[in-house]
């Protein structure tokens, strides 16, 4: 059986071990307050070669109106060993930290100094905090979409449902437009999905797993639709794969596909007048 553990792994340095110790602590924090889930952990004033490390931990909801600094503790707490590396944890709530960002931003700047986000739950964070720590979960042009399959579209045309009713729950995909006609009637876009809270481009092998592609592949004569944020509607015309090494940089994608081959969906805008006539 292939087991990567048998491969000759490159030597891991002290930082990796330190990070692993911190991650074990973060895992412990994840469930420590069931009513106040962990929202963010930042390793700040990061200096792996020093014996003392610092973490900022923010929990959802309201805990105390302060940033509590815990007594210095050994990171080998699990084994009961008292020795370096040591850790100081600055704990607070998302709500309090946001207020402090508004009232005393200069005093919080140390939390951004040589900082690395070790954990975040974007459902629990607000825009101020994600901006402050530069947590980027989507490329700038990403548009969230809900897939409307041909049968559902027919029901909409017959007046049996509204398109708005399809826009609940997690979006079925995101798109980043790579081209758009001057009259905004036609566009090309790269399909994205969320992986570990980040919107990433899908490879051609991956798009095959989803109804918005496979329905088109099985029945290209019966188009499906994408309903985008703001309730604009696009008809899916076709998919093509393009070799485009420049896309990752040009569209600030969060990850580059290894082979630079990006599936693109070709779209046609469905005007409100057309929808009414249908």
């Amino acid at each position: 059986m292939g087991n990567l553990a048998s491969l000759d792994m490159r030597a891991r340095g002290g930082e990796a071990r330190l990070r692993a110790l911190l991650e074990d602590l973060v895992q412990y924090y994840v469930g420590v307050y069931p009513q106040n889930p962990l929202a963010l952990v930042v390793w700040f004033e990061k200096a792996p070669d020093r014996p003392d490390q610092n973490l900022l931990a923010l929990f959802a909801g309201r805990l105390r109106d302060e940033i509590t600094v815990t007594p210095r503790q050994s990171l080998s707490w699990k084994t009961g060993v008292e020795g370096p590396p040591y850790l100081e944890v600055h704990a607070s709530s998302v709500e309090h930290f946001s207020q402090e960002l508004t009232n005393r931003p200069a005093e919080l700047s140390r939390y951004r100094d040589h900082a690395e986000v070790l954990y975040f739950d974007k459902k629990q964070l607000n825009d101020e905090i994600t901006r402050f720590f530069n947590i980027i979960t989507a490329p700038p042009g990403l548009i969230r979409c809900w897939y409307v399959d041909p049968d559902t579209y027919d029901r909409y045309v017959r007046g049996e449902l509204t398109l708005r009713s399809q826009m609940v729950g997690r979006p079925n995909l995101g798109i980043v437009k790579t081209d758009e006609s001057t009259d905004f009637m036609h566009a090309k876009a790269i399909p994205h999905l969320e992986f570990n809270q980040r919107w990433l481009p899908l490879s051609f092998a991956a798009v095959k797993n989803y109804a918005w592609y496979s329905d088109w592949q099985s029945h290209p004569d019966r188009p499906g639709y994408l309903l985008v944020e703001g309730e604009s509607l696009y008809q899916i015309l076709r998919f093509e794969v393009k070799s485009a090494p420049e896309y990752a940089t040009r569209f600030q994608l969060l990850e580059k596909l290894p082979d630079d081959r990006y599936p693109e969906v070709y779209l046609r805008a469905v005007l409100p007048s057309e929808r009414a006539a249908a």
């Binding site: 059986m1 891991r12 071990r17 729950g169 999905l193 797993n209």
Partner: protein, 163 residues
Amino acid sequence: MTDTLRSICEQCSHLNAPRLDFIPPELTRNKGIIDRDLRELVTAANGELDRSVVLLSGSLFESVLFSFLRGQETYIGAIRGRPFAFDPNMSLQNYKEIFNRFFGRAIPGSELPDLIVEYRDTIHINRELALPDDTCSRASRDLIRILDKLLEDLTGFAAPATE
């Protein structure tokens, strides 16, 4: 019209003829459970039972990742630079995060999307009431394709390297 569950399932070769060599040999009971559930999943898909397919697929993602990750503690420990102890009491969300982090690149294209967790949690009266009518239908179709791809990726990972 959308593809039927039956026609999608027929194209999923790894659901129909699974090779579970990626599970360590000592975990024979795990293999038995996964084999049994895959057979039930195929039966449910052939019967166009959307909700049963969603439930069984979610459970199978958990079983497959649970069994695979248990066998990879040494590898994960090597990557981390510190021993890794797999916590069997965690949820699909955690298994998915661990898998994506340590295997998403080692097995190219194998990263699992966040929506599998949401789809798995669809079967709850309060959630279903808030979601469109066809959510289970779409979830079942996407889930069996993603599960088939995961089994394909893990089977390839476990296969002996060709000279």
